[in-house]
Structure formats: structure tokens, C-alpha cells
Symmetry: C2
């Protein structure tokens, strides 16, 4: 069996903790592992790790690789140059698997940003699904609804198939009256977004119902690169696997997902799965509360003092704060969209950005200057680089840094500094065992991350 | 006539915007002037500016002088080395005035942190008070209550005195039932904390009712300094003027304060006096709101996004955020007290600190290092100084800085830097017309503001 992890995402639902360039699956929620990492670990129970591949947008590849590298050597990550929803991604990733394995395996496709805590029950569901997939079904995993949720799509089932049910129809997010009917009917399930199929079944059904995708897929060749070429991929329609194939095919089956499941689609759902104190509050980080009830307060970098809140969500990050009534957390998406329209960077990135070599935090920014703290992990090295529009000035705060500037090597201990002139080729390295922290003052115009020419890079980013 | 501005304060009520070292009177609320500055401007209508003196705790003297210097030359600020409540401050400041003027003038005493917007009506109240003060009364200014407030002290009046009333008694903050009785009685007023008297009247009454304070006051001599010596002042009892004299004396009169008045004692009262939008919201700074009602949101440094809040106060500052139900804003004081007990600096100072030469902002802090942006106004100069426990490293971001290091003069333009070794005597100056911004990286242990030896200072802080 092979696994495909869908590792894209817009980062809008859990803003300001998620950002467009740091979406939900990269976050640690309730755990020391990210949702992406937890997804990988869950698949590892039923699939050898070299048979698990991830597919994500080019902009997330570096972060996805970095997180998966903590769990496995050389994780395979396919890079989509443009977002085309799930159908092209799933069909192409399946093609990749057939090409690499030269076989027709059963494939399980899973989102990377849901919470499923019971691995054993998940495994037993997968086993049932595998049997149906072997029989030629495209298998969906459904969750038995326990209340009339209006935020999910539903799947209606008909005849029993031993391991599951035949699927009658996919239905859109219902209003609350219809959701109640679905709940009472007993044949409806929530759509988990998890699918299983034999590769050949998917291609047959794609040829029938989404021939454009199936035919375009034939042109792709993964023998030399995992990067999907833009020109071909951009011809793909942007469509979900549900619309393109599932709703049209008559070979769809459903297996009931026995495990607990939560799509973590809003701060309300994060609150729901969290442990509460005696007042029903979830208080994370440096929070000082008096008299609040049933509230969720997340302080990531500063003190948050709360008094007398009820059913309220407060999320504090370095550059943006959300204060929201708990039953309005679905509307966070609108805030995100507004910020995006306004070109406000708070929708896009955090002030702290993770890199393969460590991380940096923007601590101040002004007319013509930008100041960061750069944290380099032991044994790591930033790329050999130069900048056309900015000079840099480094002061070592802790650890010992090795700097190569125009071919000259400098060993800098705390309190020592170096000027990096415009266009000078330079690198920053931590060859020792202690963390290195450096203050960087950038000066120039424009001051953008993209002003970087890389000459050498130990993480393959040249 | 002379004026005494009581410019002390604990900074607890409007936390996190006010801090112990940056109390309410220093804040700009609803105006481009601080409450202290507005108080001075108000007094200027009836008193020549060189006859207005301020008294405050030593820790606030620098900020009080700095703010008043924007309005008048050489403001007189008496410095209390320790907090002893209002009675010692008022009696001593009155002694200062008698000594300096060699006369027995009428004195008006005003708090510096209340909002009084109508200067003309204030002036007419003062004129009435002056007449009663000339007749030998200690005059209080009372506000006619328009609802049964439980957070203020009340003053009960008896016979009419033309310009006002004779005072029968001072009463403590009542519960709501008693407050309703006071409201209906028609003889009760809120205590504004404003007083007027002839200096000799105050001393006579002090000798009678607070002889300890009166006798200790005789030892003070202001002929050489405005700094009140600690050893003598520390012998004073810590007691309010109300307890020490007003409640005991039979020479108390009340004049009705005609002007609008607000003590700005909580975020609720700030909300009350602010202009609201059509949803009853007050949104200040970078706030993005959807569907909130009757809420107060203040963003000082970051984006605050709000959704569906009702009757809620959110105040965002660089290092602390308050989220509070509007009817619980009185409890902000408890948060402040808890932080103080925990030695959490967020009760004490802001990350941005104003100095006579400009301001600095702490932008990052860690084990053994601290980074600031220092902003030096044109023509200004930091003191000539050295540090025993820290080295410093300066990078000029904008403007042109003049640095003197161990007697050697350096002119630094943007992008240039200098190392200040441990114990080296140095100064930073902006002799030009453009603002200077410098990034300072401090390294050492301990890293405290107090590690400073001043050799020369243009603001008299040596």
C-alpha cells in the first residue's frame, strides 16, 4: 500500500496562528508534533515510510520537508507550482506512485490537517477500506454524525457491502433543518476527505469523468524531478476530487471511520478538543485570568490579562491579535481575506520564520532598515549568498559564529560584529555544538527576502 | 493665586496603557496633550504659569518636567522621595509657596489625572471658590451626582454660603442603596479632589488636626533645592488630606463644579467619554472589526482583529494585552497588583521609555543581551556615561550621530557602527536637524538601567 499526504492549505481558518505561508498542518496543536507530522506517524502504522509521499504547493515545500525530515530520511515531497485544488494533485501523485513502483498498488489519500488520535481504530478502518479498494471501489471514509453540523459535506449511503456501504450521493453543506434530517436518517456520514483506491481504478474513473485531467497527466514524467512543471500543470482545471470524480462515479464505497476525528476547522473546534479548567477555560501561555468562563486564550509571545470574558477566543501572536466571540470563529476567514485584499502581511507570514538551519524573528522594521534575530542550530549553515539592495551588519549575541566574507574566514564570539557590504558574498555558519544567536541589521531599499542570490546551499535551495 | 498640581499616581487603573512608572496623568487620552498638560493649561487660565508648581514622586519627576517643559519654561516640580499620600504633599507644597512668595496667597490644589473639558465654567467655579477661600474657608469642589455611583466619596452639605455651601460631612464610597439615598437627598456631591484655601488657613487647620505634619513641615527649607529630603519626609505619616484635615475641620465649604468632570478611573470611563461609531464601538489604532458592539478596542502597536464582541475592552500594548468585560474594568487593578507581586515588569514600565533627549524601545531581550532602538531628537544629547557591567554596540539606522568614545569624536552615518567596551566613557549626540535612530545591542550581566555612571548631563541628571 502507498500513502499520499495532501499537505497544502490556505492558513486562513486558524489565523493569526496559521498564515498563508504557515498553514494549519504545520502547527503544533495540543501536541509536540505538528498535524502534518502526526499524519505521517499515523500512516506509518500501516505503510512503510518510503511509500508515503506528500504533495504541496511550492511555497510550502521547504517547511513540509523540514518537518518530515524529523521523522524520516529524504521524505518525498511533490511540488505543485500553482494551486489547482485536490483532483489534479491526487491524480498526479497517483501517477507518480505508479511510475516509481511500476505497479498498481492500493493508495490511501489523507489530508494533513485533521486530528485523529486513535491510531489502532484508524488502522482497522484502513484494513476494511483496503479490502473494498482491492475489489475495485474508490473508498471514502465517513464519520457518523452526532449532531446536525452545517459546516461539513455529507455522504449518503445505500446497500451494505460487508466492510462498508455503497455510496448513493455526495451532498453539499446543509442548512440546520436538513442537517437534522440527515442526522435522523442514519444513512448519512460526514466526509472526512480520506480516500482509498487502486491506482488503476482511479485512472479508469478519471478517464471517464475527468478526461481532461487524466489526459494531461499522461504528459508528466517524474523520473528526473519531483517538481511539477508549471506550464503543463497550469493547464489543469482547478477542481476538487469530490466534484471531478466522486460525485459522478458509481464505484464509490464508504467505510465508517471508527476513530475520533476533528477537522480543526476553527478556533471553536480547537477549544472543543482542548482540556478545560474548572471554569471551562483553556489558557495557554502567559495568561493571567480573573473570572472568565468557557473561553480560549492563547498567548504566544506576550502577557494576556483577561477579566470576566465569556465564550470568547483571544489569540495573541507577535504581530496580530484576534479577539472573537467563540460562536463567530468561522468568520476568522473573512478577516484573513480582508487582510489579503489590503496586502497586509499579517495574513501571509509570521515574524518568526523557520528555516532548515534554524529560525529568524523580525524584531524591528522601519524606513530603510530591518532588524532580525537569527538563530542558527548547531552544525547548520545559511546559504552562501549576496544581496544587491542591502548591506547587513551582524552582532553575535551567543555561541560562536563562523562567518566567511568575500573568502575571508572570521570566528566571532559574543559581542563581536561584522559589516557585510552590498553585493559581498558571505555566509553564516554554526560549526559548533551550542546554538548561535546573531542580531542582523539590514539597511537598503527595497528590503525584501527575495533580494538574495544563493551560490551554495546545504539544503538544495540554490 | 497659586496652583499646586498633584502629579503622582500608581498607574494601575488604565493598565496596560498606564504603568507604575508611566501613570495615567502622563497619557494622552482623547487629545494631543496629556492629562497633566491639560491640567496645567487649565490652571493657566486663572494663574500665571510661574505660580503653578507640581509635586510628584521622584520616579516621575523627569517625565513630569519633560511634559511641562513643552508648555512653560523651567516648570517647578517638587520631588517626593517616598509616597506619603496627599496630606504631606499639599502641606509641604503650600509651605514652599509661602516661603518663595513671602506672602499668604490663595492656593488651588488639583489632581493631574482628571478630565475637565470646559475651561470657562472651571474658571467661574474657581472665582467662586476664591471668594470663600479669602473668607477663611478650605473650599472643596463638588460634582452634582447624576446617578448613584459607588466608586466615589461623597460630601454632604448644609447651609448656603452664597458662592457655595458649608460642608457637613465627608462620607466613604457608599453601597448602591446608600448612593441612591444620597442622590435623592440633593445635598450630596462627589468629591473631585480639588481644594482651595489661603495658605495660613491650611496651616492653622493642620496645626489643629494634623499637628505632626504641621510641625515636621517647619523643618523644611526650599531655598536651595526642590528635592524634598528623604530622612525628614519619611517621618511624615502617610495620610490623605481628606482624612488628615477635611473630615475634621469645621471650616470646610463646597463649591459646585459647573464644568463636565470625569476621573477616568477605569477603561469603562474612557469608553464613556469617547466618540462611538454607529455600533457603539470605540476603535483606536490598527483595528479590524466585524460585528462587534459597544466595545472599546485600542491597538497601540499591532493589528487587533475583533469579531462579534459585546461590551468588551481590548487594550493592546507592546508587551501586554488586556481583554476585559466592560463592567469589570475596575478589576484591572487586581491584575496590576498580581503582576507587581510576581515582579512582572509589565506592571512597571513600557517597552518604549521617554527621555528628555527622545525615547528608546526595547525590541529584544534574552540571556545576557538586550536590544533597543534609540531615537535622539535634533539638538539633543544623552548623558556622558559609562557602564560597569555591560558593553554596547551601536549601529546608526538614520540621521547622523556624533559619538564621543574615550575622548575621541566619531561622526557616524547610517550603516556605520561602533563598539563601546565595558567601562568606556561615551556619549551619543544628535547635533543636526534630522532625527537620529540607533540600534543598541547591550551585552553583559546584569543588564539593568541602573548600571549607569553619569559624568555630564544637559538635563541635570548627574
Amino acid at each position: 500500500m502507498y500513502g499520499i499526504i495532501l499537505a497544502g492549505g490556505s492558513g486562513s481558518r486558524l489565523w493569526p496562528l496559521s498564515r498563508e505561508l504557515y498553514p494549519k498542518q504545520l502547527l503544533n496543536i495540543n501536541s509536540d508534533k505538528s498535524l502534518l507530522q502526526a499524519t505521517f506517524e499515523r500512516l506509518k502504522v500501516c505503510i512503510p515510510q518510503d511509500k508515503i509521499i506528500s504533495i504541496t504547493n511550492t511555497k510550502h515545500v521547504s517547511n513540509v520537508k523540514m518537518q518530515l525530515s524529523e521523522l524520516t530520511d529524504n521524505p518525498v515531497v511533490l511540488s505543485e507550482p500553482v494551486a489547482k485544488n485536490t483532483a489534479p494533485a491526487i491524480v498526479l501523485a497517483s501517477k507518480y506512485i505508479m511510475q516509481k513502483s511500476n505497479s498498481d498498488p492500493v493508495i490511501i489519500v489523507v489530508p494533513s490537517d485533521h486530528l485523529i488520535q486513535n491510531k489502532e481504530k484508524f488502522l482497522s478502518t484502513v484494513k476494511k477500506g483496503e479490502k473494498l479498494a482491492e475489489k475495485g471501489y474508490i473508498v471514502t471514509f465517513g464519520i457518523e454524525p452526532d449532531y446536525p453540523e452545517t459546516g461539513y459535506g455529507y455522504i449518503n449511503t445505500s446497500e451494505n457491502l460487508d466492510e462498508g456501504f455503497r455510496v448513493k450521493e455526495f451532498v453539499e453543506k446543509p442548512d440546520v433543518e436538513i442537517a437534522k434530517k440527515y442526522l435522523h436518517a442514519g444513512t448519512y456520514f460526514w466526509n472526512s476527505g480520506i480516500f482509498m483506491f487502486k491506482a488503476s481504478t482511479l485512472f479508469d474513473e478519471a478517464l471517464k469523468h475527468a478526461p481532461e485531467i487524466a489526459k494531461l497527466t499522461e504528459n508528466f514524467d517524474f523520473s528526473t524531478s519531483n517538481n511539477i512543471p508549471f506550464i503543463e500543470f497550469d493547464k489543469m482545471p482547478s477542481i476538487s476530487i469530490d466534484y471531478a470524480i466522486m460525485e459522478k462515479s458509481d464505484k464509490i464505497a464508504l467505510v465508517k471511520l471508527e476513530s475520533d476525528w476533528n477537522d480543526l476547522g476553527s478556533w471553536q473546534s480547537i477549544y472543543d478538543i482542548s482540556n478545560k479548567d474548572e471554569n471551562g477555560n483553556v489558557l495557554i501561555g502567559h495568561v493571567l485570568d480573573n473570572y472568565s468562563k468557557n473561553s480560549f486564550v492563547y498567548a504566544s509571545s506576550k502577557l494576556v490579562a483577561t477579566i470576566g470574558l465569556e465564550d470568547t477566543v483571544i489569540v495573541e501572536t507577535e504581530d496580530a491579535i484576534l479577539a472573537c466571540k467563540k460562536d463567530r470563529t468561522q468568520d476568522v476567514k473573512h478577516i484573513f481575506d480582508t487582510l489579503k485584499k489590503q496586502n497586509d502581511n499579517t495574513h501571509l507570514v509570521h515574524k518568526t520564520v523557520y528555516r532548515p538551519w534554524g529560525f529568524y524573528t523580525v524584531i524591528a522594521q522601519g524606513e530603510g532598515f530591518l532588524t532580525k534575530i537569527i538563530h542558527v542550530n548547531p552544525g547548520q549553515k545559511l546559504s552562501v549568498q549576496s544581496h544587491n539592495f542591502r548591506s547587513e551588519h551582524w552582532v553575535v549575541l551567543s555561541g560562536t559564529a563562523k562567518v566567511v566574507l568575500e573568502g575571508k574566514e572570521l570566528i566571532l564570539s559574543p559581542g563581536h560584529s561584522v559589516d557585510i557590504p552590498l553585493k559581498a558574498i558571505h555566509s553564516l555558519q554554526n560549526p559548533y555544538t551550542e546554538d548561535v544567536e546573531v542580531i542582523e541589521v539590514q539597511m537598503g531599499n527595497p528590503l525584501i527576502e527575495e533580494d538574495i542570490i544563493r551560490y551554495e546551499d546545504m539544503y538544495g535551495r540554490v
